[in-house]
Amino acid sequence: AQSVTQPDIHITVSEGASLELRCNYSYGATPYLFWYVQSPGQGLQLLLKYFSGDTLVQGIKGFEAEFKRSQSSFNLRKPSVHWSDAAEYFCAVKGWAAGNKLTFGGGTRVLVKP
């Protein structure tokens, strides 16, 4: 069975500072990997996804993520956060076998200090 762990429940970062959110997964092979963002009171929006190729993936809103097979990780980064980046971030995995569905991590809530 696939699973996702986001070790950090909350992260506080100053505006303009860099941000890194951790994601570790468990799956028998390389799964498809996603990062979603949820702004307060909103649904989830896809930031980026990885399924093969270059292990550094660029997404929307200036985010990027790096897949590291040896560490079973898919960490999300942003060089300089903006106040509008305050939100909850979810890592998700999907096994490549037919019928597999998305499995989400517990989420990391990001607070941005002025």
């Binding site: 009171g41 989830l44 996804k49 989400f104 517990g106």
Partner: protein, 114 residues
């Protein structure tokens, strides 16, 4: 395009009452999903549908029923609500269940069961 819409946005129920949550999408997507979101647990799949007239159980299906009579609509029913069903419910849709399909999410329905 409105994307994915959910009705209602918020509802309060008493234990034992029933209700139906409506999800509608205008993207002609084959696949639709119902998730519940609880603090620290990310999103968990309740039921999903791979096409009109089909439904299948997800990770946490107990206490819920679904129907997909029309391609654009996916209904989630609670026959006898329980306090444990207090949650935020999200609907999502996607085009095809292959490779890295993107799921598009609705804004959510906040349900409180007293």
């Amino acid at each position: 395009n409105a994307g994915v819409t959910q009705t209602p946005k918020f509802r309060v129920l008493k234990t034992g009452q029933s209700m139906t949550l409506l999800c509608a999408q205008d993207m002609n997507h084959e696949y639709m999903y119902w998730y519940r979101q609880d603090p620290g647990m990310g999103l968990r799949l309740i039921h999903y549908s791979v096409g009109e007239g089909t439904t299948a159980k997800g990770e946490v299906p107990d206490g819920y029923n679904v129907s997909r009579l029309k391609k654009q609509n996916f209904l989630l029913g609670l026959e006898s609500a329980a306090p444990s069903q207090t949650s935020v419910y999200f609907c999502a849709s996607s085009g095809e269940d292959r490779e890295v399909e993107t799921q598009y999410f609705g804004p959510g329905t906040r349900l409180l069961v007293l």
